[in-house]
Symmetry: C2
Subunit: 433 residues, 2 copies
């Protein structure tokens, strides 16, 4: 990895601060080490490295609060199928073949795409998470990572998975870029005992919780039938729902459940693209979450069901989905959607040092190319970012003060090698079907 | 404009032919003049110019069958507003200031974005259409262009607009790239007499018809109240609905109207992004159109309500919107959606020489970069193109045998100048609000 400059100055960009006043102005950002030292109209202090951002947009790195990085290796492997066929004939047989090497290839591909498209932090749940953590640290991205706990009713499996999770936690706790997370897979895939033990692990190590919740109707009915409570209530009883919790999807929750989530201070991770593509029929009730004062962030879900990790695309889908459903173009304005992808995500990860560009905050910053046909004119920069920008418009990605991509050139990952390795690895799966 | 090579060979790409068998294979495409001379696994004939497409996807240029090009100058000028506020406070006051210079600036911006994002033909309806045609011809793109006819009940206005339309037709008929179209704006903005006269013009000059239809509920109620018939029936009575007609939106049509449109051989132009963003609540009943054997194409609508002209984005929104609404991931597969954007559009424009890569067809071809993090692996090229590609992944755009962009370098438009002119022009509007 190349030596990181001690200090970097971003000059003359349009800075979308995402601070409390949502200030937007033309100016400079000075980074020293991994921190934002100064933000202002004209900073004269010298810096080791200078980035000219004239005509470009400078904003906080986007935070993807629900994904499964290695699944990028299965991008497009099974589309236009019912969920059951997709899982039975494609995803599960493919995942059964997963090993360390495949995981590394898929994770690198995901990391490359996230860096390329302006995501600087992601909340991941999968297996082989040690490998994911190693690749993430090497790439220099910020990972909130969890070795998923899933037991499908087996006490033996639960024991094994809980132990694996705890050993992952012990290995990575205290790492600057990798924050371990406790992830019971879901109310329908874990026994109540496993959920309770997961909550205890979170308590013991003071770690975030991350689980799937009410993604499909059948999940809701299934949980209700088995445990006599809808998923939110059931998860709450098992101690899973609190201020450290992120609940992915919530496409089929009631207003009462919105209240429970909001009151507990938990975060809803909305994944509009994946929900629409898998045709779950559901979509999280964001306006109701806002009314209840709840926190919301955005996720792409894995690339197998999206089929990208492009958070810009997810922002546009999110905004348009609600305008369309509620017949109200004002219901989810661009600024609110950008908030979800930045400060909403930071709040979910309980990291007030992330999500905005302000002195003293951690330097997770991206620069979007203003010289693109789709980003001119720019009456309202935030409107352009949410409705017209794509991940491909990102020029430069900085995480923890380190430049991971500059002018579309990758600094920590070998672009050609990652793509070639992914292509070769994918050949294993192409033969399954 | 640089001299076009007499012949071009595209070597070693993955060719998505979109022919009757939807063949996909690795090979070459030979272009001579404005025609596709040969398509095969290995073409040894020499060509003046060679394009290496190894690892890339070669497909027919996308056809956008409903847009208003100059409105790109109003991209992001009014978002997150009710339709009424948007029109009254933003669009109409801005359009009132439009002149030739503004139209040229907006059109060039739109042309640049279309070339950059792989659109090779577009069906446009606006005013100052002479200027739009001139800029389109200069840029080398294929335009189906109409000087819109709108009377708002005034016979005098109708006379003026019909005359303007006819003079536009006379000026451009027979042009190789520009095909004039007759566009009465809609059933709610034209008197029945004007609609009848528009149909007569279409008949007289054997030209396509293009109109708005059932975009909003209020339009449907309004037309029903004034003319005693829903828009489709009313347009039919006025002679507007036939095999040469494209009906934009149709977000609020009934099954009976689906049958009328399909039986007449007219085309429905589905614009999912604009419909969702403007929160019209409606979306065209595509599965029902397919069942009825009707033709469907895709449109972006103007960039003021989209906010891009990215047909790749429109394909993804189209596919996901139906999966989501119908709770069925199989309802609109990737191949079908790509068909809408290629051969569906070609059929709408009654141009069987467009929309696929086959010997003898006109050379409107694009090349999508296969070396992008979001396009690897590529189990199914069509799945990647619809669910994972963005306009920004297009490398090379060829229209009528001419290379308009190669390796992201524009050949007919001056990238910097077009953006600078658009930025300067936009300052006029920034002051209105």
């Amino acid at each position: 990895m190349p030596k990181t400059p001690e200090s970097t100055i971003i000059k003359d960009g349009t800075i979308i601060t995402q601070d409390a006043n949502r200030r937007i102005f033309r100016g400079d950002v000075l980074i020293i080490g991994n921190k934002i030292e100064a933000v202002g109209e004209s900073i004269s202090e010298p810096a080791e490295h200078k980035i000219d951002a004239k005509g470009d947009f400078v904003l906080p790195g986007l935070i993807n609060i629900h994904t499964h990085a290695p699944m990028s290796i299965l991008r497009g492997y099974g589309d236009d199928m019912t969920l059951e066929t997709w899982l039975n004939n494609r995803i599960w047989p493919a995942e059964a073949k997963f090993n360390s090497e495949i995981i590394r290839a898929g994770t690198d591909l995901a990391l490359l795409e996230m860096i390329a498209s302006g995501t600087t932090a992601f909340n991941d749940m999968y297996f082989f998470e040690d490998e994911i953590a190693e690749q993430t640290e090497k790439a220099g991205l910020r990972g909130f990572l969890a070795e998923a706990i899933i037991d499908l009713g087996s006490a033996e499996k639960a024991k094994e998975k809980l132990a694996k999770c705890e050993s992952f936690v012990k290995k990575w706790k205290g790492n600057e870029l990798i924050e371990p997370v406790i992830s019971p897979h879901g109310a329908y895939t874990c026994t109540p005992e496993t959920l309770v033990k997961s909550a205890e692990l979170s308590e013991k190590y003071r770690l975030l919780l991350h689980t799937h919740c009410s993604e499909t109707r059948s999940e809701v009915y299934d949980v209700q039938k088995r445990f006599g409570a809808r998923p939110v209530e059931h998860l709450e009883k098992c101690g899973i729902i609190g201020p450290k919790t992120t609940l992915a999807h919530c496409g089929w929750i009631t207003k009462a459940e919105v209240k429970t989530i909001s009151k507990a201070g938990a975060t809803l991770a909305h994944c509009p693209v994946s929900n629409m593509k898998l045709a779950t029929g559901g979509y999280a009730p964001l306006p109701e979450m806002f009314d209840a004062g709840g926190n919301v962030g955005l996720g792409t879900d894995g690339a197998a069901s999206n089929n990208t990790l492009d958070m810009f695309e997810t922002m546009k889908f999110c905004a348009l989905l609600f305008k369309h459903h509620r017949w109200d173009p004002t219901i989810l304005p661009a600024q609110k959607v950008l908030d979800l992808a930045t400060i909403g995500g930071a709040k979910a990860m309980r990291r007030p040092d992330l999500g905005s560009i302000e002195p003293g905050k951690t330097a997770d910053i991206i620069i979007v190319d203003g010289k693109r046909p789709n980003l001119v004119p720019a009456y309202h920069p935030v409107s352009n970012l949410v409705y017209a920008a794509k991940g491909a418009d990102v020029k430069t990605t900085i995480c923890n003060g380190k430049i991971l991509m500059e002018n579309r050139e990758f600094k920590t990952l070998n672009f050609e090698k990652v793509l070639e390795k992914a292509r070769k690895t994918a050949e294993i799966f192409a033969k399954i079907s």
